[in-house]
Every structure is written in structure tokens, then in C-alpha cells.
């Protein structure tokens, strides 16, 4: 596992596209130290390696393809209703390609 440092946590927050204050990073660092210890202890539980990671409580019952039924898609008006930056019927963002 990656060594945990404030720099590593800053990098993780940056990848998630938000920032925290220095004090908040310190709290987070302390939480990580606690969690790391607890997860280490879990790693010591006998026979854990024999269990497959559990992703859902029960096997998925939807094992078939649904019927192809025509339906009305979301209207343009509805799709744009909650967007804060709209121009000419589309969501407007800063230019992505130079």
C-alpha cells in the first residue's frame, strides 16, 4: 500500500477536483492513520484470503435483456433545466481543445 503523507492526500483530493484547508488535511491524515491500523488488523483475521470480495448482498436477479420498447427520451428543455451555463440549446463550458 502507498505510504500515506499529507502530499499523497493532497494529490488524491486534487484528482477528485476539490481542495481542503491545511487544517482539514491534518484531520484527514490522522483519520487515515486510525483506519490504516484497523485495516491492518482486519488483514490478520484468519482465513480471510479464502473469501471472495463481496460486491452485493445477493446475486443479481436481472440476468436477461429487457424488451426493446420505444419510449420518449428526456426533452432538451428538461435536460437543460438545471444547468447553470447554457447557450444555444447546449451546455456551455470553457474551450477544451486549444
Amino acid at each position: 500500500m502507498k505510504e500515506i503523507s499529507i502530499e499523497v492526500l493532497k494529490d488524491a483530493a486534487n484528482r477528485l477536483l476539490f481542495d481542503l484547508s491545511e487544517e482539514e488535511y491534518q484531520t484527514l491524515y490522522e483519520e487515515f492513520m486510525t483506519l490504516k491500523e484497523q485495516m491492518k488488523k482486519i488483514g490478520e483475521i484468519k482465513g480471510l484470503e479464502n473469501y471472495e470480495p463481496m460486491t452485493f448482498p445477493f446475486p443479481c436477479e436481472t440476468t436477461y435483456l429487457r424488451e426493446d420498447v420505444p419510449m420518449e427520451p428526456l426533452s432538451q428543455e428538461d435536460a437543460l433545466k438545471n444547468a447553470g451555463s447554457v447557450m444555444m440549446g447546449q451546455i456551455k463550458l470553457p474551450k477544451v481543445v486549444g
Binding site: M39, I42, Y51, E61, T62, S85
Partner: protein, 489 residues
């Protein structure tokens, strides 16, 4: 006392006999909502609620839910009505569709009077982290004690007698724990029993639609309305829905109850232990076999970290769509990254950001085996050990909380190195997806404490029948701050 405080069956009869009307009930509910001091509401929708209630004039005798006012936690999508999940990242969001459960309750002609507060994005257990501030426990007028979370507003509203039913969601214990602190029935059916379409996700492998009522009959009736397959949620079950109300008084012959010794040993409050043992005796007198069983202590100690890793990892992935672009507050910027970073930095509180970093870190390739996959393997072991108990028993019975509602100053959302087994064991029901219900057990210093029963998957009928019987033994059905009761146990 008003009609709205009556048991659901009597309230329904009053509606059928036209002694009251949906309009009158809605007026009382709205007046109480406006007068409440618990900070339980994101929005109270007077105009729409009164207009709809006034349109309900022909009582439906076979529909117990007809014309009853209700509330929804603000993480359920409601068409054209703000849905914030108590987070600034969704502050201006108005969904263009109703959640499946909202649709189904409206089809039953229930009257939605508003939306309730929650811990931000349902990621908390104290009722203190929503963007409108702290939600208070109505049993403590001095506002020093929590009602619990994350479904804090719904719990406070039902406990205050505003409505007899409110929707919540339960990922770790977010309905069943507040139900204990607020003296309510808090019911989480089996994972997959109720569609989650339109429920803002926290951790889908653990998320359940759940709800608060004041009696078991209402809980059964709501499950009849909400249960069943919905093709828009591929995790919803294809199993048929049973006539839960009719089965409440049926002798199920299902009588074996396990009490987990290691959980009991972590309860420090002697009153909780005393009243729990009274409950055990009362059930034995009714013919139940109640026995102590053992469960591995190291797994109970691992519950909370396992929950944190799995839920934070799922949440960080789910909430990647909260970018302030398609919905939520647009804050501008020179690049699309800056647009998102501004929206997310300002939109999420500190707690949420910390949880997301934990989740993201757990999912990184170099950390997955030691964190995320280890937590998932441990979940499998936790569930496997739990299922061993169900080979010999039909239910597991535990105190729903270790004490009355704690004071705010005694609680924290920070991770702790203490093993809080008595405070976190209800997440067993989320790990295993099992139906689980909290019911009022007793009151101490005028504050309620609950008991919890957990049954086998999709055996809600048996669990509700046991709960109905327990409610008669406890004498605490219809408990609220309006009705005030003592109880028998």
C-alpha cells in the same frame, strides 16, 4: 390529540366515515410542521399539498394510505420540487422526475407535504452535517441531544406527530438508529425489496429505502405499496410482494430468536440491559425461544472500518457526477477542471471531502488489495458468520442503540480508534441485506430507546408479525411527543 395522532386503522376509519378529510389532516400536519423547532425541513410545500389534499374527496375503503400526509427525506427525487440531499452541491437542483417510491405513494393518494433534512448526502449519523445545520431531537426541548442520522429530519418530524409516516434511507443504520432515539418504528426491508430508482445514491451495495412509522400496521401497509420489481432499478427483486397487513396476526410458527452475547457485553447502560432482559422474558412468555449465541468478536470490531472503506469507496465513485455543470451551482472558471473544482470545493463540506479522499485512496490500484478488496472479503466473512446463526434461528434481537440519544458534545464524525460495537452493529443488516426493524423499548428520563429485530432475507412477513406482537407487549405503539406514553416493559 387530533385525528392525525390516531393509529393508522382508526385514522383510516375516520377518513372513510368522513369524520375528517385529507384536507383537514394536511392542514394540521402543515401547521405542526411550521410550528416545529427541530430544523427538520428542507422545504414545506403548503400550496401543492393543500391543493392535492383538497382534490381527494372520495375515500377508498380498501386503501389504508388514502389521503394520509407524509414526508420524504430530501435525497429522494421529487419532480419540480427542490432535492438537495442537504448539500450545497445540489442547492438549486429541481429533478425532472419522481423517485419510484414517490410515484408509488402518490399512486396510493398519499399527500407529500415536504422534504426533510439529512446528514449531507446521507453520509453521517448525527443529524448535524446537513447544509441547514443541526436537526434536534424533539424529546429534548433544550436541544442538547441529537435525533441521530442520517435520516434526522424524517425521524424528528414523525416523532413530533407532524405526519404518521416519513421516508428515509438506510446505508449503515440511518433509519434504525434515529428510530431508537426518537421512539419510532424504523424499518429497512430486504435489499432489493424496494426500488431505489430516484434515491440519490450513497453506497449502492449497502443503500436501502427505509422509513419511519408510529405503528407496525402502517409499516406493513407501506411495504405493500412500495415493494416489488421496478425495471428502472435492476437490483430490485422479482419476488412477489406479500399481503403483509393480512399476515400480521397470523401464527407463523417462527419462534426462535438469537441474542448475540458479544454485542450485549458492549452495552454499558444498565437500564438498557434491564429493559432488554424484560423484553426477552415477555417474548418467552409468548412462546418464543430466546437464546444467547456467540459471534466472532474480531468481526464485530471490524464492522465500522469495513463499513467506512466500502461505503466511502462507493460514494466517491457515485458522486463523481456532482460537478456543477449538468445540475447544481455553476461557479464558472477558465477551464472545465476549474469549473468542477470550484463547484466541488464550495459545494461539499469538509466531512464529505474527507470521506471521498478515503474512498478514492482505497480504490487506487496500489491500495485496493489492502483496503477495498480486504474490506469486501471481510464483508463476505461477516455475512457468512451471520448466516450460520440463521441456520438455527429465525431472528436476531439486539438493543438498537447503547443508550438514549447522546448529547451533541459527546459525539463526533471523526474516525475513532475505539471499537464502537454497540453503536455500529446495525450495519450487519446492510452488509447482509437482511430485513431489520427498530421498535420503541422503553423511555429513560423521557427519552426513548429502541430494540432491533433482524430476520431472514425476504421474510418481511415473519419479521412484521413478530414486531406487531412486540408492539403489544411494549405498549409503545403510536408514541410521539404529542401522545406521550410510559410503556409496559
Amino acid at each position: 390529540m387530533e385525528y392525525i395522532d390516531l393509529p393508522i386503522e382508526e385514522l383510516h376509519q375516520a377518513l372513510v366515515n368522513r369524520k375528517t378529510s385529507p384536507f383537514e389532516l394536511t392542514k394540521v400536519a402543515l401547521a405542526r410542521a411550521h410550528a416545529s423547532k427541530e430544523n427538520a425541513f428542507e422545504i414545506i410545500d403548503d400550496e401543492e399539498a393543500l391543493a392535492y389534499a383538497a382534490s381527494l374527496v372520495d375515500p377508498e375503503e380498501d386503501n389504508l394510505l388514502w389521503g394520509i400526509p407524509f414526508l420524504a427525506k430530501d435525497n429522494f427525487s421529487t419532480k419540480d420540487l427542490p432535492t438537495t440531499a442537504s448539500s450545497n452541491i445540489l442547492a438549486s437542483y429541481r429533478p425532472v422526475f419522481d423517485a419510484a417510491v414517490i410515484e408509488r405513494l402518490k399512486a396510493k393518494k398519499m399527500v407529500l407535504i415536504g422534504k426533510t433534512t439529512l446528514d449531507e448526502l446521507a453520509m453521517g449519523g448525527t443529524g448535524t452535517t446537513g447544509h441547514l445545520g443541526i436537526t434536534y431531537n424533539p424529546y429534548d426541548p433544550t436541544h442538547q441531544r441529537m435525533v441521530g442520522g442520517s435520516s434526522c429530519g424524517s425521524a424528528a418530524a414523525v416523532a413530533s406527530g407532524i405526519v404518521p409516516f416519513a421516508l428515509g434511507s438506510d446505508t449503515g443504520d440511518s433509519v434504525r438508529k434515529p428510530a431508537s432515539f426518537a421512539g419510532l418504528v424504523g424499518f429497512k426491508p430486504t435489499w432489493g425489496r424496494i426500488s431505489r430508482y430516484g434515491l440519490f445514491p450513497f453506497a449502492p451495495s449497502l443503500d436501502h429505502v427505509a422509513y419511519f412509522t408510529r405503528d407496525v400496521k402502517m409499516a406493513a401497509s407501506v411495504l405493500e405499496a412500495l415493494g416489488g420489481r421496478d425495471d428502472r432499478d435492476s437490483t430490485s427483486s422479482l419476488r412477489s410482494v406479500e399481503p403483509y397487513c393480512e399476515l400480521l396476526n397470523k401464527n407463523t410458527g417462527v419462534k426462535r430468536i438469537a441474542v448475540i452475547k458479544e454485542i450485549q457485553e458492549t452495552i454499558k447502560d444498565n437500564d438498557v440491559l434491564l429493559h432488554f432482559s424484560k423484553a426477552v422474558e415477555a417474548l418467552r412468555k409468548e412462546g418464543y425461544i430466546v437464546e444467547e449465541v456467540s459471534y466472532p468478536l474480531e468481526l464485530l470490531q471490524s464492522l465500522f472500518p469495513t463499513y467506512i472503506v466500502i461505503s466511502c469507496a462507493e460514494a466517491t465513485s457515485n458522486d463523481a457526477n456532482l460537478d456543477g455543470i449538468k445540475f447544481g451551482p455553476f461557479k464558472g472558471g477558465n477551464t472545465y477542471e476549474e469549473v468542477m473544482k470550484r463547484a466541488r470545493s464550495e459545494g461539499f463540506s469538509e466531512l464529505i471531502k474527507r470521506r471521498f479522499v478515503i474512498g478514492s485512496f482505497a480504490l487506487m490500484r496500489e491500495n485496493q488489495e489492502d483496503l477495498f478488496l480486504r474490506a469486501q472479503r471481510n464483508r463476505a466473512k461477516i455475512v457468512s458468520e451471520l448466516n450460520k446463526i440463521y441456520q438455527s434461528y429465525d431472528f436476531i434481537m439486539t438493543p438498537a442503540a447503547p443508550s438514549i440519544a447522546p448529547r451533541f458534545e459527546d459525539s463526533s464524525d471523526r474516525l475513532s480508534n475505539e471499537y464502537l460495537i454497540a453503536d455500529s452493529h446495525l450495519c450487519l443488516g446492510n452488509f447482509a441485506g437482511l430485513p431489520s426493524i427498530t421498535l420503541p423499548l422503553f423511555l429513560k428520563d423521557n427519552l426513548p430507546v429502541g430494540i432491533n429485530f433482524m430476520g431472514r432475507a425476504f421474510e418481511e412477513a415473519n419479521l412484521l408479525a413478530l414486531s406487531s406482537q412486540f408492539e403489544r407487549l411494549s405498549g409503545l405503539a403510536e408514541l410521539s411527543t404529542v401522545t406521550r406514553k410510559e410503556g409496559y416493559l
